[in-house]
């Protein structure tokens, strides 16, 4: 790398002048969430009017006098208005006009107090907290839909909701979880911690990062607004032609998923560029924390797989609004096309949800085992292997669909092969636990919970990859239980581990440990008691997404429902703990409570503006526990000139 960089002004992209003083305007004129809401409302109205103006003579829907075009344009322009109101385009316009724009590290010093969390900001630490709160809200909302599903399934025929409400609720739950939770780790922890872990003062593209967050509330609200126009009756997969046939709620699904797709692509892009270009001197690829490896592999999946989804959603929208026929068989389209597009994204997507969990537990395990990570390269290779293979398995969702029947052995093979790199994660855990000194802290408990749950989830996946066995299991509660074991039992347990492990770092407060332990044990027990019986329910013949099931399955279903309510209560304990510890108890935590060697723990909690006073020089691996005479992980105050020398290409490994 040949860019000449001063340590004091490190990593400032060339071409940007120093930030001019921010012009003082009254608070209500500064772009923030209130101007965004105004912009969204205006944008929606304009879009709706424009849609009606352009397409007043379209009559796709015989049941209502409204067609889909105004709604879609309303959503799209509403989102643009939302972003404009936030000031997303301000810097762009300033730069086009030749005026100076603020630089990430400098802007964050200027703003203090809570108001910065409601603004479009360039500070990756603020974006991380925004993501964290957003993700918890989205998760809890989608979780409430799950409670509603289980309430309906208390009885073998419909009783609380009618058929239409039930499919609406199922669709909202599934879509909200699958699309918004794809950023549940990368959003908060990736954005917040990754620069700290690689010794950077900033992310590569702070504006894209902030944009990736501010698209998520838009996607969330658009998706939720679907219930106002009747919801969508096709679950999270949105198979055409059902999704083309469905009423206007389907537009909210397609627009929201598309918006979230863009958010995911931007977030992934930012992470990849940051890791490649913003590592501190001495942070070789072989010293990169394993969590960062997981973020890099996930980001590649996001950047490469999600455009296919955005394209699919676009085609769905044009089929619905302007009468294209991508998915209509009698007009030359194909219902298989949508399935292929969707799963070409959809299968990498489930690894987008799985890999961050592997990264978190592999990061946490050495700290509480007080041992180096066993087989660091194997762990990294496992993640890369999973990421690569995940692009070659998507048709296992279509084993019974009749497409490419002679290819089924191939997809059976690729799907089963993926269990080899996944197994590496277990090998690493097994090696790390060997003769360790295990400390049962709350984050460690959640990490161990992942290993237990994901084992069941992964092994049940082998049953599903086997075509003959899949004939019975496909589309039943068996597969539903399988992916809840991998995503909730894997990703969400890891998310909780990360919360208990890193919130002291991010917020500078301790989370209550007793409540944390109660949270873990209730969540672990009720999670398993909810989803383990569902394997049996599926094997006994209950398809997914039904409100009517065989009478003899009622006992099992009731057991599951009651466990699910208790599981919901366990999540409530987490929310209470989070609110209590951050708002009321506020027990400060400034140091390194876990005695971790991670670079992010070598600065104060919460980290100062700009993360590091000077760009650190990394001296050793973050996992050198128990190594006699191991050097500290990094020199936080390197002698003047070392950093610039490093960037000029000289060795700094001493």
């Amino acid at each position: 790398m040949s860019i000449e960089i001063e340590p004091e002004k490190a990593q400032q992209p060339a071409g940007h002048g120093p930030a001019g003083p921010v012009p003082a305007r009254p608070w209500w004129m500064r772009p923030a969430i209130h101007t965004a809401v105004v912009g969204a409302v205006l944008g929606y109205l304009v879009g709706h009017w424009l849609g009606n103006f352009l397409s007043h003579d379209y009559a796709r829907n015989a049941l209502s006098d409204m067609n889909d075009f105004p709604l879609v344009l309303g959503y799209v322009l509403g989102t643009v208005g939302w972003l404009a109101g936030l000031g997303v385009f301000n810097d762009l316009l300033r730069q086009m006009a030749g005026k100076p724009v603020p630089v990430a590290e400098e802007e964050e010093e200027a703003v203090s107090g809570l108001s910065k969390y409601f603004r479009f900001t360039l500070d990756h630490k603020v974006v991380g907290i925004q993501y964290l709160i957003g993700m918890i809200i989205y998760f809890c909302t989608a979780g409430l839909f799950a409670m509603a599903i289980r309430t309906e399934l208390l009885s073998p025929t419909y009783h609380v909701m009618n058929a239409s409400t039930y499919v609406e609720v199922v669709g909202e739950h599934g879509t909200m979880m699958m699309m918004l939770m794809s950023s549940v780790v990368l959003g908060p922890f990736g954005n917040y911690l990754m620069p700290l872990m690689i010794g950077s003062k900033r992310m590569a593209f702070p504006r894209l990062e902030a944009l990736s967050f501010w698209l998520t509330p838009a996607a969330f609200i658009v998706l939720l607004s679907g219930v106002l126009v009747g919801g969508f009756p096709f679950g999270w997969t949105g198979y055409a032609p059902l999704s083309v046939q469905a009423t206007q709620g389907a537009d909210s699904y397609a627009v929201a998923f598309g918006l979230m797709g863009i958010s995911i692509i931007l977030a992934g892009f930012n992470i990849i560029v940051t890791v490649i270009n913003y590592r501190a001197p001495g942070m070789r690829w072989s010293r990169l924390p394993i969590f960062v490896w997981s973020m890099v592999t996930v980001s590649f999946l996001m950047v490469l797989a999600t455009p296919v989804l955005v394209g699919g959603m676009y085609m769905l929208l044009t089929d619905r609004t302007v009468e294209t026929a991508f998915f209509a068989g009698q007009l030359g389209g194909s219902s298989y096309l949508y399935q292929n597009l969707f799963w070409f994204f959809g299968h990498p997507e489930v690894y987008i949800l799985a890999l961050p969990g592997f990264g978190i537990v592999s990061e946490i395990l050495p700290v509480f085992c007080r041992k180096p990570l066993f087989g660091y390269r194997v762990a990294g290779a496992g993640m890369i292997g999973v990421a690569l293979l995940s692009f070659f398995v998507w048709q296992h969702h279509l084993f019974d669909s009749g497409i490419n029947p002679e290819m089924r052995p191939l997809f059976m093979l690729t799907t089963e092969l993926i269990s080899i790199p996944t197994g590496f994660i277990y090998l690493v855990a097994i090696g790390t636990l060997w003769k360790a000194k295990i400390r049962f802290t709350v984050p460690m408990l959640f990490a161990l919970g992942l290993y237990f749950n994901f084992l069941i989830g992964g092994i049940s996946g082998v049953f599903l990859s086997d075509v003959p066995a899949d004939t019975t299991e496909h589309g039943s509660f068996f597969v539903m239980s399988h992916f809840h074991y991998t995503i909730m039992g894997g990703l969400i347990f890891a998310f909780m581990a990360a919360c208990y492990y890193w919130l002291p770092k991010m917020l500078g407060i301790k989370l209550n440990e007793t409540l944390g332990k109660i949270h873990f044990w209730t969540m672990f027990i009720f999670f398993n008691s909810t989803f383990l019986p569902l394997f049996a329910v599926g094997m006994l013949g209950q398809p997914r997404r039904v409100f009517e099931y065989a009478r003899n399955l009622q006992t099992l279903n009731d057991w599951v429902s009651i466990s699910a309510f208790l599981l919901g209560g366990s999540i409530l304990i987490f929310v209470i703990n989070f609110i209590w510890s951050t708002l009321f108890a506020r027990e400060p935590e400034v140091g390194n409570p876990w005695q971790s060697r991670g670079l992010e723990w070598q600065v104060s909690s919460p980290p100062p503006g700009g993360n590091f006073e000077h760009i650190p020089v990394v001296l050793s691996s973050p996992y050198d526990y128990g190594v006699r005479d191991a050097p500290p992980v990094a020199d936080l105050h390197p002698p003047v000139g070392v950093v610039s020398a490093a960037y000029a290409g000289a060795g700094v490994e001493a």
């Binding site: 015989a62 049941l63 058929a163 009756p233 198979y239 032609p241 046939q245 469905a246 068989g329 219902s335 007080r370 041992k371 180096p372 087989g375 660091y376 194997v378 279509l398 019974d400 669909s401 497409i403 029947p405 089924r408 059976m412 089963e416 269990s419 080899i420 197994g423 590496f424 277990y426 090998l427 636990l433 060997w434 003769k435 360790a436 000194k437 295990i438 400390r439 049962f440 161990l448 237990f452 084992l455 092994i459 082998v462 049953f463 990859s465 086997d466 003959p468 066995a469 004939t471 019975t472 496909h474 589309g475 094997m539 013949g541 398809p543 099931y549 065989a550 526990y625 128990g626 190594v627």
Partner: protein, 313 residues
């Protein structure tokens, strides 16, 4: 697996952890596999009503026998580690710095690869031998049963009902699926509107119903009795209520039923479009106009859809 080659450098006084874990594991694994094969297998879904169901049952049992040792190994190891290697109060030293072990890593990788490849070979054989394992094989099936006395049944899915046509009996369309015992059945699954999935649970048959697509699946009923047909792909509002029941009867009873049904349904069959492997969705609404005048077949709520209204009610 890799346990017997535990990392070296154990102090002499310490017990051999690897051997202990291995012994606990091997005993549990053998017991579990014997129990799965001898006790659990005959009761595993989807039962033994047809050739494809039988094969699936064996398949699931074999996969369970492969899975049990793997899961038990991880659980036994974790339980052993978490009880024996916990942090003791006052001991603030770090653990031994073990960064890896080539032998163990190689053993693990080779071991898992062997298990996975064996599962792949077994799964492929189990897919090909029972003629596609009861799964939908598309319009040009590659794996077919031998013999030419095959009964053809077309499964027509639409929101939200299944009907069945028997091309060898004048193309009659019935609302109940009746199959003969001991004869190969060739299902042709198609849809008139959105994607459905035909799941005859006890027969171990599952094939998606795509509009404009003929999806073929095979099975051979081997025991008399009733079975459930459910829609297995979310198809809209009343997906949850889209099921009916079929039965397997003796060959003689089937012949009686089929010929009498054919005569009974003759006036309906006349109005139906000629038997075809797929039907274009746009012609279906016009059909409904004629059909509702004749007793016998109706759509989900008594009528086929109004041609002017392709939406869901």
């Amino acid at each position: 697996m890799a346990t017997s080659e535990a990392p070296a450098a154990a102090a002499p006084a310490e017990p051999s952890h690897g051997r202990r874990i291995f012994l606990i594991w091997i005993v549990l694994a053998v017991v579990a596999d014997v129990l799965i094969w001898a006790v659990w297998r005959p009761h595993l879904p989807p039962g033994q009503m047809s050739s494809s169901a039988e094969h699936q049952q064996v398949d699931i049992a074999v996969l369970a026998m492969a899975a049990a040792p793997v899961m038990l190994f991880v659980w036994v190891y974790f339980a052993y580690a978490l009880t024996n290697w916990r942090h003791r109060a006052g001991d603030d030293d770090d653990g031994p710095p073990i960064f890896g072990h080539t032998g163990i890593q190689a053993t693990w990788i080779i071991g898992t690869a062997v298990v996975v490849l064996a599962a792949f070979v077994f799964g492929t054989v189990e897919l090909i031998v029972p003629a596609g394992a009861g799964a939908g094989e598309g319009p040009l099936p590659v794996w077919k049963p031998s013999g030419n006395n095959t009964l053809q049944v077309q499964v027509i899915a639409q929101q939200w009902v299944f009907t069945y046509r028997y091309p060898q009996f004048g193309g009659m369309e019935t609302t109940q699926l009746v199959l003969p015992e001991g004869r190969n059945v060739e299902f042709h699954v198609t849809s008139l509107d959105v994607i459905h999935s035909f799941w005859a649970y006890q027969l171990g048959v599952k094939a998606d119903a795509n509009p404009m697509v003929d999806d073929v699946a095979y099975t051979k009923p081997e025991h008399l009795g009733g079975f459930t047909v459910r829609c297995n792909e979310l198809c809209g509002l009343w997906h949850g209520a889209m099921y009916n029941y079929g039965k397997v009867v003796s060959a003689a009873d089937f012949q009686t039923w089929a010929t009498s049904s054919q005569a009974q349904l003759a006036k309906v069959t006349k109005i139906l479009p000629p038997y075809a492997l797929t039907y274009e969705p746009t012609v279906v609404p016009q059909l409904g106009q004629d059909l509702v005048k004749v007793a016998g077949i109706t759509g989900a709520n008594g009528y086929y859809y109004n041609p002017g209204d392709p939406e869901q009610p």
